[in-house]
């Protein structure tokens, strides 16, 4: 499969890299434009005066006269750990710094605006040490979804009301590396090895899954200048389904060095090495040999409303509310060609965020920005996992917009803070299992994000 040439150029210009894990909620990302980041991710009611408006409000392209180009990236540095109950043992995450890019081009003339944006609305990198206790859920997980959004906007009422929108063409790639837990594997008799006494967390292999998929959606926006000093806006980005049908799974065996203690039933007889019983799974036509695997991840809808107030000289105050349709993330099916299928129970609810931002023009040109947003996690208490230990987020940001003639540079810094949350390192195998039964420790997570964007206006 190939990408459109224009998209390829934009990606090259943005220095595409895998996106990071400082996300709005769950695996959502808001690092889409440095101005918006610095203003607490506000941009629906009072869009930034750059081409990232194509994302923050697709109707806003009409507010930028001429040709606008905006491109940049955010460096996301995540820090996290898991502290186990009783022992207090702390295990640190080992997440590489990721750099999600963004690039937008918009041309507006005579009440009409055309543009295209390339951005990363959903991304995730979760990575732990190789011997992490929770490696059976995930040792490394990565999801990178890029949306390409051609957009048209039109001033329905000149200078007052605009509408806009366009299709969203998404490409998503996923990677998952995890250890295989023998206690949850089933014997030919149908019971699990755990029921035979194998302890949870007995690694007998490693799995690596990789795949990608395309998806299609739509993004629409509405923007209104209600008065001289008040703007209102709304946008809706549809849910996009990604079916990773041709993903590949690879497996390697890890020796357990366990020996059956006593006669149970053939082939589990005293003195038999368990690794000998398992070896056949990893060779020939065994269940744990290289094979196709498929999964499906629904990227949720986004609905945002916002307002902007410019009644104070040189000052913009912005307030946004956004709803995320995370309840689409109910289960994560993983269907193997030969290995037993799995269906991970997620049971996310919808999430939401409230955002505030302020921008002040110093000396009429240099923009000083600050913002705060709170994002409510959509993850239930029973779904805080090594794959995604999601929790409520408190985002604090500052930034500067530096004009350089027709060009400009935006700089921004964001702290993502959380209060931590209890979570689990074991798989949830049944809906009847409660968070109290599953959770065995505490996840901490925070991030520092540095963002920079270049702006050009012709």
């Amino acid at each position: 499969m190939t990408l459109h040439r224009l998209t390829l150029c934009l990606m090259a210009a943005a220095g595409l890299a895998a996106p990071g894990a400082a996300r709005a909620q769950a695996f959502g990302l808001n690092e889409i434009g440095t101005c918006a980041l610095a203003r607490g991710f506000t941009g629906t009611g009072a869009p930034c005066r750059d081409a990232s408006v194509l994302y923050w409000n697709p109707a806003g392209g009409t507010t930028l006269p001429g040709l606008s180009v905006y491109a940049g990236a955010a460096a996301v540095s995540l820090d996290g750990d898991f502290t186990a109950d009783f022992t207090g043992r702390e295990e640190n995450a080992d997440i590489p710094t990721e750099v999600p890019p963004h690039a937008f081009v918009n041309y507006a003339r005579n009440r009409l605006a055309l543009g295209v944006g390339v951005y990363v609305p959903y991304g995730l990198t979760s990575q732990w040490e190789d011997d992490f206790t929770g490696r059976f859920a995930a040792q490394r997980a990565s999801l990178a979804t890029i949306y390409v959004q051609p957009t048209v906007a039109y001033e329905v009422v000149p200078g007052r009301v605009s509408v806009g929108g366009g299709p969203v063409i998404g490409h998503s790639s996923v990677e998952l590396r995890q250890a295989l837990d023998l206690s949850t594997a089933r014997t030919p008799a149908g019971i699990t090895f755990g029921q035979l006494g194998i302890a949870p967390g007995t690694e007998f292999g490693r799995a690596s899954l990789e795949g990608d998929a395309w998806g299609l959606g739509f993004h629409v926006g509405f923007h209104m200048r209600a008065s001289e000093n008040l703007q209102l806006g709304a946008r809706y980005l549809t849910e996009v389904k990604f079916a990773y049908d041709d993903a590949e799974a690879r497996f390697t065996q890890t020796p357990t060095n366990l020996v059956v203690n006593s006669n149970v039933q053939a082939p589990f007889l005293a003195g038999v090495p368990i690794d000998q019983l398992l070896a056949g799974q990893f060779t020939g036509s065994g269940a744990l040999t290289q094979q196709q695997v498929s999964t499906e991840i629904d990227h949720p809808f986004q609905f945002a409303v916002g307002l902007g107030y410019t009644g104070l000289a040189n000052t913009t105050l912005a307030l946004d509310y956004e709803l995320f349709g995370w309840n689409a993330f109910a289960t994560l099916p993983v269907n193997f060609e030969r290995a037993p299928d799995r269906s991970l129970i997620e049971n996310y609810g919808n999430g939401w965020a409230i955002r505030t931002g302020v921008e002040y023009l110093l000396l009429g040109a240099l923009a000083a920005r600050a913002g705060f947003s709170f994002a409510k996690t959509p993850a239930p208490a029973a779904t805080v996992t090594p794959l995604l230990p999601d929790q409520d987020r408190y985002n604090y940001s500052v930034g500067l917009g530096i004009p350089l003639g027709r060009f400009g540079v935006d700089l921004g810094y964001l702290i993502v803070d959380t209060k931590g949350r209890r979570g689990r390192i074991v798989e949830r195998s049944s809906e009847s299992q409660t968070a109290a039964q599953l959770n065995s420790g505490f996840y901490r997570l925070n991030a520092n994000v540095f963002s920079a964007s270049l702006k050009a206006q012709f």
Partner: protein, 430 residues
């Protein structure tokens, strides 16, 4: 509000938020209770007493009545057991002298063996004791010797008790082992090795060798901060054994024996040899179960090679009258000497390892003296032949005695380590 005021307010709010988030909050994790850091991870090793065996079987209900489980509860320690769902593996007896009446009958039988529970387990198990374990089993690696006890696999999952203990990174350990080493030959009254019947008497040096090695290994674990070693039970204290002479001096006791057994002979009674008069021999109640099942002739002799009355039906020599299921005075002294030697060793080992030590024998003797454990069984009681505090196999206690053991252990632990673990508020066994 002026522009500057707004900006100052915004900056202040941001700074306030940033300060509020500065510094890590303490993690919201479960902490040990009254036992403190000492009981961050408590691991119990041993045999059926520690595993929670009762009435000839085990399930997750009896497992939760073990002293080890109760001690963990009082210390506020996480204590994950290798849960065996009801009916069990095998299911405990529900009725004395009726082997088919087990927990979960009629669908469950004495041969039923449930697999481990599927309930979620978030950490390594803490009770790694295996029923029927001898001292050498604590560290013995699995071998292709035809081991037939499935519980070794279900509990240990391919490792040894020491191996599973390591997995839990224990801060406190308890070890109660050696009981089967003396009880196994004592229960059948045969001190020579008879395949399928008796392992023979095990020299104390052998028992102490394995116990010593286990204690050294446990004390040497970097995470271990303390422990308690529990002495071996002196066999005569076990309720399973009763005075043979009582069969001649206590008519009611004899009548109940006859009623329970309902021997398949003309008199429907058990013949008690006159050599039991004044005898100090102890009789294992296992003989009663064997007679009832028709696997042993309805005769009890307190001396070997007894002279039987004329006209008595011939008895096969393998019945070993007066030997099988009988403990002579000399045999009792041998067992007591072994127990004393082993317990002296265990006590010294505990001191060397800075562990606590508890000898259960004075308390068990006191229970018999007080009548909490009847001196003589009531074979006609289907649910309490050895009293209300001992289970139907005549060896393994019910919860009430586990509570007494727990409280005694708490006493020695608190004394040794300065902890403040509360005892279980419970009346002493009646």
């Amino acid at each position: 509000m002026t522009r500057n005021q707004i900006l100052r307010a915004a900056a202040f709010a941001l700074a306030l938020g940033a300060v509020a988030s500065c510094g890590e909050d303490d993690p919201d994790i479960l902490q040990p209770g009254p036992g403190g850091a000492l009981f961050t991870s408590y691991v119990a090793l041993g045999n059926s007493l520690t595993a929670g065996w009762q009435s000839g079987g085990i399930n997750d209900s009896t497992q939760r009545e073990s002293y080890a489980y109760l001690l963990a509860q009082q210390a506020g320690a996480r204590f994950i057991i290798p849960a065996l769902p009801r009916p069990g593996c095998p299911p405990p007896l529900a009725e004395y002298l009726n082997p088919l009446a087990v927990v979960g009958a009629p669908t469950a039988t004495p041969r039923t063996c449930t697999f481990r529970s599927t309930e979620v387990q978030t950490a390594p198990i803490n009770d790694v004791a295996v029923p029927l374990a001898f001292a050498w089993d604590i560290s013995r690696a699995p071998t292709p010797t035809g081991e037939s006890n499935p519980l070794q696999t279900f509990i240990l999952g391919g490792k040894t008790q020491i191996g599973r203990a390591r997995d839990a990174e224990p801060t406190f350990v308890s070890l109660w082992i050696g009981n089967n080493d003396v009880l196994a030959p004592a229960s059948v009254g045969v001190f020579t090795t008879v395949p399928g019947a008796s392992p023979g008497i095990i020299p104390p040096d052998t028992i102490t060798k394995y116990i010593g090695a286990a204690v050294d290994t446990l004390a040497g674990l970097s995470t271990v901060q303390g422990g308690v070693l529990i002495g071996v039970v002196d066999v005569p204290n076990a309720p399973r054994f009763f005075r043979g002479s009582a069969l001649l001096t206590d008519a009611e006791f004899k009548a109940k024996l006859d009623a329970a057994v309902d021997a398949p002979n003309a008199s429907r009674t058990v013949f008690v040899h006159p050599n039991c008069a004044g005898s100090t021999a102890l009789v294992s109640a296992v003989i009663v179960e064997q007679i009832k099942a028709g696997a042993y002739p309805p005769i009890i002799s307190c001396e070997p090679n007894p002279q039987l009355p004329p006209g008595f039906p011939p008895i096969p020599p393998e019945a070993r009258l007066g030997d099988l299921f009988i403990l002579s005075a000399a045999e009792q002294q041998t067992l007591s000497a072994i127990v004393a030697a082993v317990n002296a060793f265990i006590q010294a080992k505990a001191e060397g390892a800075n562990f606590a030590y508890y000898d259960p024998n004075p308390a068990l003797a006191a229970l018999k003296a007080s009548g909490a454990v009847p001196e003589l069984p009531d074979f006609t009681s289907p649910t309490a032949p050895f009293g209300p505090n001992v289970s139907l196999d005549g060896v393994h206690p019910r919860r009430s005695i586990h509570v007494a053991v727990t409280n005694a252990l708490i006493g020695v632990i608190n004394t040794k380590y300065g902890t403040n673990i509360p005892t279980i508020p419970s009346p002493p066994p009646d």
